[in-house]
C-alpha cells in the first residue's frame, strides 16, 4: 500500500526481487496473487501429505472408540498440547517454551506484514512499529538462544534420555533427527537479524523502532560497506531457509507440533491420572481365538498413532525403574523400534496401488521392494527374498535400507521380524513394573503399559512363553487364591484374638460401615500382618463397624492381570465381584494400592461398582471427623514417605498420606525429589514381585532406597505391602536396617493413638 503516513516505519518488500516490485505496483495483480496462492497451496500440501500418511498408517490398527467426551479431549489437546501443559513439567521444558513462543511471535509478526500489505488496514507505524520491532527482536534472540541450547543439549552433551535405540532404519529423518530442523531455526533467526541489519544499513527511510539487535548488525553491514545488492542476497538466503523450514515441518521430527495435540486429543481419559491404571479387558474372553497382540497390526489405531506421535524426547526414561537400573526395557526405545517395524511393514499392510502406497515408495523407505516381492496384505516375504527384490525387474526398486546399529540387518529384516521376540524381545516385555512413570512423563500422552501388557497377554496366553519362575505363583494363585500358595483357609489367621468379625458370620443382611479388604500380603505375609493388625487397632479405637471376608476373600488377580494372565484374573475377579455384591457395606478399605486400584478401576468392567478407599484416605477421614486422636509423641526423628506408584501416580492420592503423617505429633517429615506423582518404583509392581529381576543389573529397590537415604531419614514410611517388603529388603541390602526403620503409615498412626 502506498501511503502518506510519515511516522516511523519501513518499506515492506523493499529491494525484493523484480517480480515482487512488479507486484508492488499492482497490489491486486494476478501474478502476485497467483504466487501467493501457489506458495500457500504447496505449503499446505507439504504439511498435510506427511500427516495423512501417518494417519493412514495408524488406520491399519484395530478400531477403538476415542471420541467420547469431545470437549474434555479438546481441552487436553489445547492445554496439555498446544498450551505446553505437559512440556513445562521438566526443566528443559522452559527452554522449549522459549522456542515455542519465539517461533509463534515471529510467525504472527510476519503474518501481520501480509495484513498491512494486502489489506487496507494500516498499522505498521509509530509506536506500534517501534514496539513491534522490539518484540520481533526479542523473539529472534529467543529463537537463536533456544535452538542453540537444544543443539548443544542434543549433540554436544547429550543426556541419557536422548540416547537412540538400535533398530532404526537409516533414513534422512532418523539420521538427521532434530539436528536439521533446529539448525534451520537457528539460521532463520540469524539470517533474520542479518536481513534487518542489512536493511537498516542500506534502505532509505527505514527505522529500527525499538529493535536492539538489528542496529548491531547494521553497524557490521555499514562497516563492511554493504549495498542494496548485499541486502538482496541476504533476502534470498533468508527466504529459502524459511520456505525450506516451513515446507519440511511435518516431514521431520517437528511433526510433533501437529501429532502431539492430536495424540492428546485421543488420549485415554479413563481411571487415574494417566489411565494406565485400568487395563483394557479382552472382549469375549471365553470365545476369543487370539489373545493380546502378536503382530503390530493387531494394536488399536491409537496405539499405532502413539508410535507416530513419539517425539523421542526420552522423558519416559527419566524416572523409569528399568532404565535407571540399566535393564533391557527402555520405553522410548521400545516405542521407536515398534514404529520402525510398523513403517517397514506398513506397505504390505496397506492396499497396493493407492495414493498412499505411492507416497510411501516415494518417501523411499525401501518399501517398494518389500511389496514388489509379491506380498499379500498381512503377509511379508522372507528377508532374503525381499532383499533381492524377488524377481521384479523394476528399475525403480530401491535397495532395502540398513539399520543404524551397524548390525547388517536391514529394513526388509525389520519388516518380517517377529514383533515380540525380535523387535521388542523377551526381557523388555517382561521387565516392566507398570509403575506408570513413562505415561506420567510423556508430553504427548503415549500409553506404554497397555502396549506392553498386550504383548505379555499374547506371550502368556497364546505362546505359553513367559518367565518360568512365574508358573509357581500362578499355580499357587489358582489353587489357594494367593500368589504365595499358602493354605486358603488360613487367610484370616492373622486376626486371631483381635475380635474381628467375618462377613459370613455377620450375614448378608447386616450392614457394616467398612468392608476391610485385607489382601493377600496383609493376610499371609508375616511382615504385613502387622499392618493389618494395626489397622484393626485403629478401627476399633474409632468405633468403626467393620468386617472381613476371611476365606471368602481371594486374590484380586492384579499381578496375574499385569503379567498378561487375563484368564486367571478374570476367574478370580469374577468370584470376588460376586462375593462383594452379596454383602452390604458403605465402603471397602484396602491397605494395598494394587487391590485398591483393581477394585476401584477394573472391577467396574465386571459389574463390581464399589466405593473403595485406601487406608491413607480412610484414616484421613477418621482424623477429620475426630474419631481418632493422635497423642503419643514419638516421632522425634526424620521421616521420608515413599509414595506407592499405584496410589500416588496412578490414582493421584498423595496429599492424604501426608496429611495423615503430619497429624502425628512431633512429625519431622521431609520429601525427596522423586515423590508424589514423580515417585520412583520399588520394583515390585507389574508382577515383578513374583519373578526374578533381570540378572546382572542394579536392583530397583536398592536404587530407590539410595535416593531416599540421601535425605538421611530414620524412618521410611510406606503405604503398600509390596513396597514394605521391597524397601525393607533394600535397607538390609544397604546394611542400614538397624538405623532406618520401614513402617507402614497405618502402623505409625496406630503407634501414635492417644
Amino acid at each position: 500500500m502506498l501511503n502518506t503516513n510519515t511516522e516511523d516505519t519501513r518499506h515492506i518488500l523493499w529491494n525484493a526481487p523484480e517480480a515482487f516490485h512488479w507486484a508492488l505496483a499492482n497490489p491486486w495483480g494476478l501474478f502476485r496473487f497467483g504466487v501467493a496462492f501457489v506458495l500457500f497451496a504447496l505449503w499446505g500440501l507439504s504439511i498435510v501429505v506427511p500427516l495423512l500418511r501417518w494417519m493412514k498408517i495408524a488406520s491399519i490398527g484395530k478400531p477403538e472408540n476415542r471420541t467420547d467426551q469431545p470437549l474434555r479431549r479438546l481441552r487436553a489437546a489445547l492445554l496439555e498440547g498446544f498450551g505446553q501443559g505437559r512440556v513445562v513439567r521438566e526443566r528443559s521444558g522452559v527452554m522449549h517454551q522459549v522456542l515455542f513462543v519465539s517461533f509463534l511471535v515471529l510467525f504472527i509478526g510476519t503474518s501481520l506484514i501480509t495484513i498491512e500489505e494486502d489489506t487496507p488496514l494500516q498499522f505498521y507505524y509509530g509506536a506500534f512499529y517501534g514496539l513491534y520491532k522490539l518484540m520481533m527482536d526479542l523473539a529472534g534472540v529467543g529463537l537463536i538462544v533456544s535452538s542453540s541450547w537444544f543443539l548443544w543439549r542434543r549433540y554436544v552433551q547429550p543426556t541419557r534420555a536422548l540416547a537412540q535405540p538400535a533398530k532404526m532404519v537409516s533414513t534422512f529423518e532418523n539420521e538427521s533427527g532434530y539436528g536439521f530442523p533446529l539448525a534451520m531455526l537457528f539460521l532463520i533467526g540469524l539470517t533474520g537479524f542479518m536481513l534487518e541489519g542489512a536493511r537498516l544499513a542500506t534502505a532509505p527511510d527505514t527505522h529500527g523502532g525499538l529493535a536492539f539487535v538489528g542496529p548491531w548488525f547494521e553497524r557490521l553491514f555499514r562497516a563492511a560497506g554493504a549495498t542494496p545488492a548485499t541486502h538482496y542476497v541476504v533476502w534470498w538466503v533468508h527466504m529459502v531457509i524459511v520456505l525450506g523450514f516451513l515446507y519440511s515441518m511435518t516431514s521431520t521430527k517437528l511433526r510433533h507440533i501437529f501429532l502431539g495435540p492430536v495424540n492428546l486429543f485421543y488420549k485415554n481419559l479413563d481411571a487415574g491420572y494417566s489411565g494406565g491404571a485400568r487395563l483394557k479387558p479382552i472382549e469375549d474372553l471365553e470365545n476369543a481365538e487370539t489373545y493380546g497382540v502378536e503382530k503390530i497390526e493387531e494394536y488399536s489405531w491409537k496405539q499405532l498413532l502413539d508410535m507416530a506421535a513419539c517425539l523421542e524426547c526420552g522423558r519416559c526414561t527419566l524416572n523409569c525403574p528399568t532404565v535407571n537400573t540399566q535393564k533391557a526395557l527402555n520405553p522410548k526405545h521400545l516405542v521407536i523400534e515398534q514404529r520402525e517395524h510398523l513403517l517397514a511393514k506398513a506397505p504390505s499392510l496397506l492396499p497396493q496401488g493407492s495414493f498412499l502406497f505411492a507416497q510411501l515408495a516415494k518417501f523411499g523407505r525401501g518399501a517398494s521392494n518389500v511389496v514388489a516381492a509379491g506380498a499379500d496384505a498381512g503377509e511379508v516375504p522372507g528377508a532374503e527374498e525381499a532383499a533381492t527384490g524377488g524377481d521384479v525387474a523394476d528399475a525403480d526398486v530401491r535397495p532395502s535400507r540398513e539399520l543404524l546399529d551397524g548390525s547388517g540387518r536391514d529394513q526388509a529384516w525389520l519388516a518380517q521380524a517377529d514383533m515380540i521376540n525380535d523387535v521388542a524381545t523377551q526381557p523388555v516385555i517382561w521387565g516392566c513394573t507398570t509403575c506408570g512413570w513413562c505415561e506420567e512423563g510423556c508430553p504427548v500422552g503415549i500409553e506404554h503399559i497397555q502396549r506392553i501388557v498386550d504383548m505379555r497377554r499374547n506371550d502368556m496366553l497364546m505362546r505359553g512363553a513367559f518367565p518360568q519362575d512365574l508358573a509357581k505363583s500362578f499355580k499357587a494363585t489358582e489353587n489357594q487364591s494367593n500368589p504365595w500358595g499358602l493354605a486358603a483357609d488360613g487367610r484370616a489367621n492373622w486376626a486371631e484374638g483381635l475380635d474381628v468379625q467375618q462377613m459370613a458370620e455377620l450375614g448378608e443382611d447386616e450392614r457394616v460401615e467398612v468392608l476391610y479388604w485385607v489382601g493377600c500380603a496383609g493376610s499371609f505375609d508375616d511382615r504385613n500382618q502387622k499392618t493389618s493388625r494395626a489397622l484393626v487397632k485403629i478401627m476399633q479405637a474409632a468405633g468403626v463397624k467393620f468386617g472381613i471376608l476371611g476365606m471368602e476373600e481371594g486374590c484380586t488377580g492384579e499381578p496375574a492381570r499385569r503379567l498378561g494372565n487375563e484368564y486367571l484374573y478374570f476367574t478370580l475377579a469374577q468370584m470376588n465381584v460376586e462375593t462383594l455384591n452379596r454383602y452390604k457395606f458403605d465402603k471397602i478399605v484396602t491397605q494395598c494400592p494394587h487391590c485398591f486400584n483393581t477394585i476401584k478401576n477394573e472391577y467396574p468392567d465386571l459389574g463390581g461398582r464399589f466405593e473403595v478407599v485406601h487406608t491413607a484416605q480412610f484414616i484421613e477421614g477418621l482424623l477429620d471427623a475426630g474419631r481418632i486422636k493422635l497423642g503419643r509423641d514419638f516421632m522425634r526423628k526424620k521421616l521420608v514417605l515413599h509414595d506407592p506408584c499405584y496410589l500416588a501416580r496412578h490414582n493421584n492420592v498423595h496429599e492424604e498420606t501426608r496429611t495423615v503423617l503430619d497429624a502425628i505429633p512431633g512429625m519431622n517429615r521431609e520429601d525427596v525429589g522423586q515423590s508424589r506423582r514423580r515417585t520412583f518404583c520399588c520394583g515390585a509392581g507389574g508382577g515383578q514381585f513374583w519373578k526374578e529381576e533381570e540378572h546382572d543389573t542394579a536392583r530397583i529397590n536398592v536404587t530407590r532406597v539410595e535416593q531416599i537415604l540421601e535425605a538421611k531419614p530414620d524412618t521410611i514410611a510406606v503405604a503398600c505391602p509390596f513396597c514394605t517388603t521391597m524397601i525393607g529388603d533394600a535397607t538390609k541390602a544397604k546394611g542400614v536396617e538397624e538405623e532406618v526403620a520401614v513402617k507402614d503409615v497405618v502402623e505409625l498412626v496406630a503407634e501414635s493413638l492417644a
Binding site: 502368556m460 497364546m462 505359553g464 518360568q468 499357587a476 489353587n479 486358603a488 483357609d489 488360613g490
Partner: protein
Amino acid sequence: MKILVPIKRVPDPQTNIAVKPDGSGIVTDNVKFVINPFCEIALEEALRVKEQQGGAEVVLVSIGPKVTQEQLRTGLAMGADRAMLVVAEEELDPATAATVLKKIVEAESPDLVLAGKQSIDDDANQVGQILASSLDWPQATFASKVEFSADKKEVTVTREVDGGLEQVAFALPGIVTTDLRLNEPRYASLPGIMKARKKELKEVPLADYGVAGAAKVKTHKMAPPPKRSAGRKVETVQELVGLLHTEAKLI
C-alpha cells in the same frame, strides 16, 4: 516313543489337613485337589522328551474317583496327548494300583513308564517298584536327571543318593520314578486348556480289571498329630535345672 505317565489326585500340599472326627479319613470340604507334585514332575519330563524327540506320545493314566477328570484335563492342557481314567470310588492299596497299571501297560505297551516316586497323601513310595517287578522291567527310582542314548533305546538316569550322585542305565522298556529336582513343571497355556477339552479322556470302570475288593491293605484309622502344648517360663536357672531333672528327666 510312547511314554505312559500314571498320575494321582491328591490334596494341594499347601492345604491344612484336618482329620474327620471319626478318624475315617480327612475332611475334603474346601480342599483343593491337584496332580500329585511328583507325578507332575514325571509328566513334565515326559513332555520335554516329547518336545525333544518329536513323534513321541504321552499317555496319562489315573485311578481314582470320577472327579479325577479335573487333574487329567490339567495334564492334557499341559500337553499330554490322551488320558485314561480307571474309575474307582474305593480305596486301593499300592499293590492293587500296580496290578491295574500292569494291565494297562500290557495293553498300551509303552517304551517308558515315567511315574512320580511317591504320592504326597499316603507317602507309600511303592507303585513304581511293584509295577517294575510284576512286569519284570528294569527300573530307576528317584531320578534327578534322565538322558536318552542317541538311538533312543537306552536311558541313563542320575539318582541322588546319600553323599553324591549315582548313574544307572537300562535298555527300554523300563520304569523311571522322579524326584523333586528333576524339573520345574510348566504352567498350562490357555490354548493348551482349550485343546485339552477336545482331547480323548477314556473312562474304564475298575471292575474291568478284576481287582475290585482285592486291596490287602486298608486304612484302619487316622488321627491328627498331638497338639504341641505351650511352653513354660521359669524364673531361675536353678529352677530350670530342677525341672529338667524331675519333670523332663533329661538330666
